[in-house]
Symmetry: C2
Subunit: 268 residues, 2 copies
């Protein structure tokens, strides 16, 4: 996680960066069906970094780890020109095999848990130079979602227990990440764009900026929602929303059109 590329110190506090760095890595563990247990943090910092920023970073790591009962167990520190974080996460599978990316089979369903498009909407507000104060309601929630993801950690091990055949956390954008599942499983995934609930922060930001909210839902990264494939007929419960189906073939399609051939205008 590199300053300037993955975060800006004028847009995110040290606390935000700590929570986000922890969340991204803890979500990777949950997405394999495991309970995260510990983080190892390698940290590069400039000599003139305020100590308060570093204290806040540490607090952010601690608080995000506390959400899942994990902790930072080690690491290293070095002086650099920018803030750089390298985080490794470890977890406990509870004796189950890991849920990997490759198990999707035709006839199964694709479901998501957690927020989609929130972080992208928030980032778009910041990039547009919008002043979004704490009392800005849904718009502030979007910006906060960019600063601190809120992964549905417990849904990872729960999905494994429900028989998920493939899973990952959405970090690059749903259509792109489903492409990873399609490629790894040797299958085609068909997505129904009408199946998604658009969150209020996403809708509010879209109205503010004149954007398409579903575009953020389908292509926005960094919310670290979970996307999983389940056998048809499994009762998934309220946390999961079925948004697509696995069929024979390859690639990802929206309304029958291949995403990589322009099936979704804003897919990059």
């Amino acid at each position: 996680m590199l300053e300037g590329r993955h975060f800006r110190r004028d847009w995110s506090s040290g606390y935000d960066v700590g929570r986000k760095a922890a969340a991204q890595n803890l979500a990777d563990i949950a997405a394999m069906g495991a309970v995260p247990t510990s983080l190892v943090v390698g940290l590069g910092i400039p000599a003139d970094l305020p100590v308060g920023w570093l204290d806040a970073l540490t607090d952010g790591f601690r608080d995000e780890c506390a959400v899942v009962g994990a902790s930072v167990v080690g690491g290293d520190i070095a002086r650099g020109d920018l803030v750089v974080l390298g985080v490794t996460a470890l977890g406990d599978l509870g004796g189950r095999p890991p849920v990997t990316r490759s198990g999707a089979r035709p006839g199964q369903v694709v479901a998501v848990a957690g927020r989609l498009g929130h972080a992208a909407a928030g980032l778009a507000l910041l990039e547009a130079g919008r002043d979004v104060p704490r009392d800005a309601g849904a718009l502030f929630e979007a910006v906060e979602a960019h600063r601190r993801p809120c992964p549905p950690y417990a849904c990872g091990p729960a999905a494994a227990r429900l028989g998920a055949t493939a899973m990952l956390d959405v970090s690059d954008g749903l259509l792109q990440d489903l492409g990873h599942l399609a490629r790894a499983g040797g299958v085609r995934i068909e997505v129904d764009p009408g199946a998604f609930t658009v969150g209020e922060p996403v809708a509010a930001a879209a109205k503010e900026l004149g954007a398409d909210p579903v575009d953020w839902v389908l292509t926005g990264g960094e919310d670290h929602a979970l996307a999983a494939v389940f056998p048809a007929g499994v009762a998934l419960g309220d946390a999961w929303q079925v948004v697509g189906a696995v069929v024979a073939g390859e690639g990802v399609a929206v309304r029958g059109r291949d995403v990589e051939r322009g099936g979704w205008d804003h897919f990059q």
Copy 2:
């Protein structure tokens, strides 16, 4: 491990950087008495990095891991302005408790295994702008030692079996690292500077640059030798050289003078 601070691409090849990044972290595992099993590598690279450099880096990781039977099992990659590596190493203690830094007790002996001062001598040659070609014999060996440390991995678990009470790998310089053992154990460590064998590359570089070779041995980092404390009377074998003793008190002393109070001129 940050480009410009921990390595320079004009002084070290991608292969060298891979071997060194792996070695530094594998040595940390050996220094706790464990056998290294796997590495996780987070990598930041600039967009214009030649692919060949990255291939060579990967080869370096593979070859250094092969020395101990470990492998790279995962990681992540991101675009950045410089080459940045964040490495986490995992190992197997074989059921033994880890050897930590805090077990040194008065009456015990301090021993080292592996090279000391080689990497510092090589770095000094590079910093002095010396052209050291491949046929430069001992001088080239010194420069190679800077590029690729050669930690005595097997001595780590062996030390644990011999009953080592404290151990670490020498990354900052022996006097400074022994200071960590003294502080963690609540003891004083007395070092005999005459007890060290000065390696031929160190001696040759010292002659070339008019430097004190023992200075590099006592304060040079990055060779990743092992420094350990053992109960008196243990037969340590040829790999270990007894270089000091643990006594009551605090700090590190050379010939009875406190290092931190000028007991060794070039200690920083």
